[in-house]
């Protein structure tokens, strides 16, 4: 009953979004403002409708309505309530609904602002947002109905999902559900997909504005000004989703890694690359008026990569641990991808001339030039990633051979590019907009370079001779020094002119120039993350072996003694096999670790949970690989020593701080308006 209500509301929402999209462009082409307003209101209606739909689905999930197919597939009686709620995005149908719900929220937010000066954009923004929404909702309505119920045919006893009750069958209520994939029953799982989806979905809005700008011909800076903040927040969510994914993988997936260059991970990484490139090159457009084509291209590329990435994940084209099971939505998605891709490209070609720019570059060492180089690096990394994902498809098509593109390719191909980016991160803050010569830049650079070299030599003498590590640490030191120097320089200037003490100076400096100094904090955080990555990638050691009770094994300076093991039933319908090991460093006792294997009966899957001890210097990460009570031999353990890895997590915390600072709303100094009195008020209020 209530499931059918949910489906009904979903269908209504689908029709509403279609109406909204077409009313918007019809009203625009026939110059009927009332129709456009009607479209706007219709779009505002979608969020309450979808919230209601979602509420119904959550109600069904929490209350064990196993006659509903989706509920049966992703929940079970033994799951705690909070996991039943998060199971909403634990399967294809539910996650599509989640996507649509987020989209409607953002679309509504956008339409609630004042539109007086940008009336011409509105219909097209509504159109793009609603077409995207109607596509995703349409997939729910026609192909992946989250409210489909299970019916058992009275003659054949076959059980199948249907939207409406077929003849000669009755509702089938399973005694228990299959339960969420155990890998997903973790707090990290609660946040990681929503964060990623938030990032993906919020990139739709800048895209909508870009399309609106192209269609209306208003290709000046206005569209960028309107969506700059959207793009920044989208980038925040996406970045954080990626980092959370890495942390969750490290904690839970039991292979001691945080990033596997899996095609679906890369599908989420690619829009991040173009998004970061966009954030930088948009500054060039603001300061120097250049690169209009390029920024337009970047935002279109970001959106198309989001859609393409979502398609790859959900259609079954790629094989990946992350991928959803195959379904009928593949071809439909293919159509949508093709349409948006070709449509956007056609539009930008059509409007190419109108993206005229005042392009001049006085110096190859100016900040614009360096930002352009930065863009080149990001796009090159993008090409590497895209090619790595597509190559297996091409290979199978043309040679019949299936191949796997794994980490070695990506690491080799992107390594030098990331190094180049770090170098640019160090040089660019020291160069000026518009004009920089070798002399001025050289004068600023030589000091940090020398100190960085000294630090590198120290590392060489004390820690490692590994060439890649030394280059990496040199670059990290260089960037950190330059960034700190920028802070010092700015704070120093404030101290002299405003007579503030150092702390107030730093605070005010950052508060008054949030984008710049928040950005510097982000750069710093990236360098901390780089330290962690260099540590774990270049210096990780591991060992695996079978130990008897009280037997010891050693690796990376640690001694691990196998003490005890026990098997017992755990919460949430699982069986836990838990080992106890003691960890020593030399003669110092460091404590106990409890690696375990959890076996989930309902899903018939095992999860290996590591025992970890984390310090800034390194992580000791112990996995219980295998133990059988019947066997006479001992338990098998795998131990990783991951040096410096916690700098990665530290860096990501600082990253969050940095981006919140950078994105925190500043009083955007709005340009002068027509009426004089308001002008006076504006200028006095402006900082």
């Amino acid at each position: 009953m209530i499931a059918n209500l949910g489906y009904g509301i979903l269908t209504v929402t689908f029709l509403v979004t279609l109406y909204s999209a077409f009313a918007a462009i019809y009203g625009e082409s026939k110059k009927i403002p009332a129709m456009v307003e009607s479209a706007r209101r219709a779009m505002l209606l979608t969020w309450p409708l979808l919230t209601l739909t979602a509420a119904i689905l959550i109600y069904l999930l929490v209350n064990n309505h196993f006659e509903v197919q989706f509920v049966y597939e992703v929940t079970s009686r033994s799951m705690p309530t909070y996991l039943k709620v998060t199971a909403w995005w634990g399967g294809q149908a539910g996650s599509l609904l989640f996507w649509s719900w987020l989209m409607s929220a953002f679309a509504s937010l956008v339409t609630l602002r004042k539109w007086d000066r940008d009336r011409e954009f509105l219909p097209w923004v509504i159109f793009v947002a609603c077409i995207t929404m109607s596509f995703f909702i349409g997939m729910n309505v026609f192909f992946e109905n989250p409210f489909a119920q299970l019916y058992q045919n009275q003659t054949t006893a076959a059980i199948a999902p249907h939207t409406f009750q077929p003849a000669n069958s009755i509702l089938y209520i399973a005694p228990d559900g299959r339960g969420l994939n155990p890998l997903l029953r973790h707090p990290g799982m609660v946040i990681h997909p929503p964060m990623l989806y938030l990032g993906f979905v919020s990139f739709v809005m800048p895209y909508a504005f870009a399309i609106a700008a192209l269609i209306t011909g208003r290709t000046d800076d206005r569209w960028i000004r309107l969506t700059r903040r959207w793009a920044l927040w989208a980038w925040l969510f996406l970045s954080f989703g990626l980092v959370l994914g890495g942390r969750w993988a490290y904690d839970v997936l039991g292979w001691g890694g945080y990033w596997g260059w899996d095609p679906v991970e890369i599908a989420a990484f690619m829009p991040w690359l173009t998004g970061t490139a966009f954030l930088h090159s948009v500054m060039i457009q603001e300061k120097r008026g250049m690169l209009k084509h390029w920024n337009m291209l970047l935002i279109i590329l970001t959106y198309d990569l989001v859609i393409f990435g979502t398609f790859l994940t959900r259609s079954g084209v790629l094989s990946s641990v992350h991928a959803f099971a195959q379904s009928a939505i593949g071809p439909l998605f293919m159509g949508f991808v093709s349409l948006t891709l070709m449509g956007s490209v056609a539009l930008i070609i059509y409007r190419w001339d109108s993206l005229k720019a005042e392009t001049e570059m006085t110096s190859l060492l100016s900040r614009e030039a360096l930002f352009l180089l930065n863009n080149l690096m990001f796009i090159s990394i993008l090409v590497v990633c895209f090619w790595g994902v597509i190559f297996p498809l091409i290979s199978e098509l043309f040679t019949g051979q299936k191949v796997t593109v794994g980490p070695p390719f990506y690491e080799r191909a992107t390594g030098p590019l990331f190094a180049a980016l770090m170098l640019l991160m160090g040089i660019a803050p020291l160069s000026a907009w518009g004009h920089s010569t070798v002399r001025t830049l050289g004068r600023a650079i030589w000091k940090p370079t020398v100190v960085a070299v000294v630090i590198t030599v120290a590392i060489f003498l004390t820690y490692t001779h590994n060439v890649y590590a030394l280059i990496g640490f040199f670059l990290v030191a260089f960037v950190i020094l330059v960034t700190l120097y920028e802070y010092w320089r700015g704070a120093n200037a404030r101290q002299k002119t405003q007579k503030e003490n150092i702390f107030t100076a730093l605070w005010n400096l950052t508060a008054r120039n949030r984008r710049r100094y928040g950005g510097y904090i982000i750069h710093l955080s990236m360098m901390l993350m780089a330290i962690g990555i260099l540590g774990i990638e270049l210096f990780q050691v591991e060992t695996q072996g079978t130990l008897e009770i009280n037997q010891q094994t050693s690796v990376g300076g640690y001694d691990v003694i196998y003490q005890d093991i026990a098997r017992f039933p755990g919460p949430d319908g699982r069986e836990v096999t838990r080992a106890v090991v003691s960890v020593y460093k030399g003669s110092e006792y460091l404590g106990e670790l409890h690696p375990r294997i959890d076996y989930y009966f309902d899903a018939q899957q095992t999860m290996t949970i590591p025992g970890q001890r984390s310090t800034l210097k390194d992580d000791i990460y112990v996995l219980l690989v295998n133990w059988e009570p019947a066997s006479a031999t001992g338990a098998t353990f795998k131990i990783y020593i991951n040096p410096l890895v916690n700098w990665l997590w530290l860096g990501s915390l600082l990253f969050l701080v940095g981006i919140v600072i950078a994105a925190w709303p500043e009083k955007d100094p709005e340009p002068v308006t027509v009426r004089a009195s308001r002008t006076v008020q504006q200028t006095s209020a402006a900082d």
Partner: protein, 182 residues
């Protein structure tokens, strides 16, 4: 007694190793992945993993062979152990896996040239386009100073005093800003 079940590869092994291989395999079949104390040449888990790291599970999706927890993967790691015991080299083992399970078990495509050439070409293309862009954008400087020279010359000719709007960089910038914000 136990036959090696693949006609292509014939391993020459002594009877004693044969016996311990049978024993190993039998016990391995019952107790998954535990180490058996055969004489001398049994490879350590680390040696097995060193090779398994470079391979992907032929059946599971994108999972490296050394971390894959399934029954099948344990068997493949045991196969590697078996082959190491027989004295096979890393290359031979990888070759065997490719022959029997396809090139997708390697963590890199066998054809290196094709894989790397596209990103390298793209990077060079991008760098070239950027270079041309820099060249094109530097030209207007000449035009700009020429214009300013011309304006000054005009002023002098017409006896105009002071700075004409064109020359004043502040005004020029202001006009530019206004243009942008309109």
């Amino acid at each position: 007694m136990t036959k090696i079940f693949f006609p292509k590869i014939k391993a020459t092994i002594t009877n004693y190793q044969l016996l311990s291989a049978i024993l190993c395999t039998f016990i391995l079949a019952l107790t998954i992945d535990s180490q058996v104390f055969a004489q001398g040449t049994t490879p350590t888990d680390d040696e097995v993993n060193k090779i398994a790291k470079q391979l992907y599970c032929p059946v599971c999706e994108s999972t490296p062979l050394d971390v894959c927890p399934t029954e099948a993967c344990r068997q493949w790691r045991d196969l590697i152990r078996e082959m190491l015991t027989q004295g096979k080299s890393e290359t031979e083992i990888k070759q065997y896996f490719v022959e029997h399970y396809g090139p997708q078990v390697l963590n890199e495509p066998p054809n290196r040239l094709v894989t790397y050439i596209v990103p390298i070409a793209a990077f060079l293309l991008g760098a070239f386009m950027l270079f041309r862009g820099f060249q094109a954008w530097k030209k207007p400087i000449a035009t700009q100073s020429a214009l300013m020279e011309k304006a000054r010359a005009d002023d002098r000719k017409n006896g105009r005093k002071g700075i004409s709007p064109i020359q004043d960089p502040y005004i020029a910038k202001l006009e530019e800003e206004l243009k942008k914000r309109s």
